[in-house]
Structures are given as C-alpha cells and as structure tokens.
C-alpha cells in the first residue's frame, strides 16, 4: 500500500540534501564552535554560514538571528523576556494576542497572567481572521508586546501581519511586535523589514530540517534579555553548546524553503483547492477557515457524525497520515481551541480533519485521498448513533445546519 504523508504542518522528513549538509558536523567537523583550534573554528564557520542563510531568507541581518531548540522556545523567549523587561523598565504590563494561537504562545501568556500581566486575547471571527483595527483598538499605554501568529497551524488562515506591525511601530509609545511564523515560513514570502516584524519565531522541522532546531529573529535595537544562563553562546543570550548539525540543516532548509516560493505555493495551492472542492462535496460537511487568506497547503474540514480520531485511524489503515482537532487526539475532552474559537459547536469540531500538503505531495496522492476519505466517512457514519440522530432530526439537529452542507 502506498503511504501518503499529509501531515506536513505536524512535521516533515529531512531531505537527503539537508541530511548531507548536517553529516559533516556530526563526524569530521564535530568541533565545539567555542574552541580556539581549527576544528572549533571550522564548526563556528558552519554556524555563522547558517546564520547568514537564515537571515537572508527573511530579509534580516545575521546578528538578528538567535538559534533555539525550536519554535516553542523562541515564542517563550520573545514573549516572556520582552514582557518582563518592559514591566521592569517602564511598568508596562499588558500583552495582546489572539484566542487561537499555538499553545506555545497561549500557555506562555497564561503563565505571564499568573505573574501579574494583563492579557487581551483578541477573538478571531468565524473564518479564523482578525483585523489590524482590532489590534489597534486593544492597544493601551501599558501594552508591552503584541504577539500574533503569521499563519494558524490548524486552519491555515493568514493574518494581516504587515498591517499589525505598522500599527505597533507607529504607536508613540512603541510596542514590540512578535509573530510566530512557524507555519508560514517557507510557504509565504516573509520579509521582516517591509512587514514591520520586530521578533519572529521559526522552527526547522516544518521545512525539512530535523526536530530540535529553530531560531528567534530579534530586530537590532531591541534589548533581548538572556533566556538560558550559562556560557557565552548566541552572543551571551542563549547558553548551551550549539547544535551545529541542526543549525547547518536549518540554514540550508531556510535557503531552500524560501527559494522559488511563489511557484511552489501555486503548485501546492492547486492540490489544496482540488482537495477542498472534492471533499466538501461530502454531505453535512464544512470547510474550516477562510478560503482566500490561507496557507497553500492547508485543508481543514469537519464532518458531523464522525469522530476525528477514528477518522484518522481509518485513514491510516488506507496509508494516509493526517491530523484532527478532536478531543481524543489531545487527551482532553474538549476539541481544539482553534475550532472552538471559530464558534463551531463541539459536535462539529470533534469531526475535524486537517490535511497539510507540501511540494513533495503529488497529484496521484491527492486522487487517492479524494477517493478514500468519502468511503471512510460513510463507513464511520453507518455505525454512528450521532449521525443517525442527525439524519432523523433528533436532538434539535437543525441547530447544526448553518455550518454544514446539505445532508442530501
């Protein structure tokens, strides 16, 4: 059976080319970049080359790139240390974010609330969007940092980052603007200067580098406080011997991911649109997230009467790897906060399916998904008491109609 990997928003495989760039740093060029002899300097050269690759890929300067263990660390670092510093320096104790951020941002903000910060969680609309005007209206003289994701990890919606950045920058009492760009990088053209981004989090394993490497971009002039204490790595801001192989991989991955981005996005978006248009023909389904402002590789649909985890397990039995926002995949009873933020009822949110493709997926794979998913949905619904009740109009079934396509 052909294996189809359609969960690229979760992680990606390491390409041969990128693996090849890592290998020397695990073997011959294994030196510690802090060491003074040639072996050390050679490793340091590799780190600095990768730093330049990362900087070039987003329109930054190399000394604005700080390597981290990944996106979550970069989010924690940017938000916690900026918020704490500005509170100490100027008594600012307000943070603005959205209610559908990744948990790396949401839980960080919640931790800061326990430290006495006030956090505004801007509500997204039913399409999964916010406006720059919402951010502007929420700004106060006490606002230290605005952290808003570039693209949502579950429904793929793109937020007006450049506009939000401009509002933060033009504010008299300047506000720092951070964005979690983990899902956007490599899919959308990012230029931190023209898009008014002060700080940005990036992860390597979403763009074919290995897990455990990422970076924080922090604009020159912003006083970034030390996050991990110890040695003098990352200009004294983030201690710990550099993950040289991971860094080399990330540098090359950033270079490759941002190359020919427009052509790549168009190709992927074509496959995405075919998936959305075919799968949304399934009765009593809905597409989650705005169709226009959307990552090229994100497909997210819900099917009432179907529970997400059993949908994924059945897809896996057909060789297709995907993900869901159902409660069962998270280990809690509530379905994903992202789908609930759109205003979806639990019953519909439980039946969600996220398919995330990239340039390594093929039209043939899309054909297979389009063929298999409707059959799986029928099979699950045939044994679902919720579907039976829905079709028979029990339990006030019409309350779900406004979200769903007709039952037929």
């Amino acid at each position: 059976m052909k294996q189809i990997y359609a969960d690229n928003a979760a992680t990606t495989f390491v390409t041969d080319e990128i693996l090849g760039a890592m290998m020397p740093f695990l073997t011959g060029r294994f030196g510690n970049p802090s060491s003074i002899y040639r072996l050390g300097m050679d490793a340091l050269r590799g780190v600095e080359h990768a730093r330049k690759q990362c900087a070039d890929a987003i329109g930054a300067k190399p000394n604005e790139i700080y390597f981290t263990s990944g996106g979550s660390e970069a989010d924690n670092w940017a938000i916690k240390e900026t918020a704490r510093r500005l509170k100490n320096e100027s008594g600012k104790n307000h943070i603005i974010t959205t209610n559908f951020e990744h948990h790396a941002v949401l839980h960080t903000c919640q931790a800061l609330e326990r430290e006495g910060f006030d956090v505004t969680y801007l509500p997204v609309d039913e399409r999964g969007l916010i406006t720059a005007a919402q951010v502007e209206a929420a700004l106060t003289d006490k606002t230290a940092i605005v952290s808003i994701m570039y693209a949502n990890n579950e429904i793929g919606t793109l937020l007006p980052i450049a506009e939000i950045g401009e509002i933060c920058r033009n504010r008299n009492n300047k506000v720092i603007f951070h964005t979690d760009a983990v899902q956007a990088v490599g899919n959308i053209h990012i230029d931190v200067k023209s898009q008014n981004i002060d700080m940005m989090s990036v992860s390597g394993h979403k763009i074919h580098a290995p897990k455990g490497i990422g970076f924080l971009y922090c604009k020159n002039g912003i006083n970034l406080r030390n996050f991990i204490h110890g040695g003098g790595q990352e200009r004294g801001k983030r201690a710990g011997t550099e993950n040289t192989a991971g860094i080399a991989a990330l540098g090359l991955a950033m270079e490759i991911a941002t190359r020919d981005i427009q052509a790549k996005a168009e190709k992927v978006a074509k496959m995405r649109d075919r998936l959305i248009s075919e799968l949304s023909k399934i009765p009593a389904s809905c597409v989650n997230g705005d169709l226009k402002n959307r990552l090229p590789g994100n497909v997210n649909l819900s099917f009432i009467g179907v529970e997400g985890e059993s949908l994924l397990l059945n897809m896996d039995l057909k060789g297709i790897s995907a993900s869901s926002g159902s409660a069962c995949t998270s280990g809690s009873l509530d379905p994903s906060h992202v789908l609930l933020a759109l205003g979806l009822p639990h019953e519909i949110a439980h039946g969600s399916c996220r398919i995330t493709i990239n340039e390594y997926n093929t039209d043939e794979e899309i054909d297979i998904i389009i063929k298999e998913v409707p059959e799986i949905i029928s099979k699950i619904r045939s044994m679902s008491p919720l579907w039976e009740d829905f079709v028979n109009g029990k339990d006030n079934a019409q309350r779900f109609f406004k979200w769903l396509s007709p039952i037929k």
């Binding site: 529970e307 059993s310 397990l313 044994m383 008491p385």
Partner: protein
C-alpha cells in the same frame, strides 16, 4: 499515544456492529459534546443475552471497547452480564492509554443501561439489581 494490537484489531474489524430492531433492551450513554456516544442493543431469551449489537460515535478506544464488550456478553446469562466491569474490558484489550480509560467506563455503562431498559420494559425496577449507573467521571466534569 499507543494502542495495543488488540485495540487496533477490534477497531479495524469491530464485532457486532449494527442495530437489533426488536431488541429487548437498548441503552445509550455518553454525549456528543464529549465526543463519545455508545448505543447498545440486547436480545434476551430465558435470561440469556442471545444477541447484542452496538453503534458508537467516538474514538478508536470507544469503538474497540464497545466491540470487546459485545463479545464478552454475547451468549452469557444476565447475572454474568451485569457484573461486566470496565476493568475486564480493558484487560481483554491488553490495556488502554490512560486518557482513554473513560471509554471503557462508557462500555460498561452502555451494557448496564441496556439491561436497565430491559428490566424497566418488563415492569421490574432496575435500581436494586443494577445499582446506580453513574456518569462517566470524565463526562461529568
């Protein structure tokens, strides 16, 4: 999260899926908000569960525990069926991940709810026989 081979086997080939139109007892537990609903149908002749079928909306564990429970009670006398515990269902599946234990509770409750319906239909108060069929601790949260 890891499912045992037995869980995956039941999930892939669930036993006794469907409905019994002239069932002697039908029980439904769980709710769509939590993401699990189990509906259990029993056919009872001379105190023996001669047939049972289920329909489940829920995750892999919910489907596997429903399927395993029907296998465990089919052909058994009511006295044995009413003693079915979620632990026995878990053991028959070689264990469940911790966050899925509530699915096994639902399976036990679905069987008891169907028995309760059977007694009620026959003019017998089920409470003294079956005791309280509690809410799943997770669902009640």
């Amino acid at each position: 999260m890891l499912y045992s081979e037995k869980v995956m086997e039941h999930f892939t080939n669930p036993r006794n899926v469907g409905e019994i139109p002239d069932a002697d007892g039908v029980g439904e537990v769980g709710n769509a908000k939590c993401g699990d609903i189990m509906k259990m149908y029993l056919k009872i002749d001379n105190g023996i569960v001669t047939d049972c079928k289920f329909k489940t909306f829920g995750c892999g564990a919910a489907i596997a525990t429903s399927s395993a429970a029907t296998e465990m009670i089919k052909g058994q006398p009511i006295e044995t069926v009413m003693k079915l515990t979620n632990k026995a269902v878990i053991d028959s599946l070689d264990g469940l991940p911790a966050q899925k234990l509530h699915c096994s509770v639902l399976a036990e409750q679905a069987v008891k709810a169907a028995l309760s319906d059977y007694y009620t239909k026959n003019g017998i108060d089920p409470a003294p026989i079956l005791g309280e069929i509690g809410e799943c601790a997770h669902c009640a949260q």
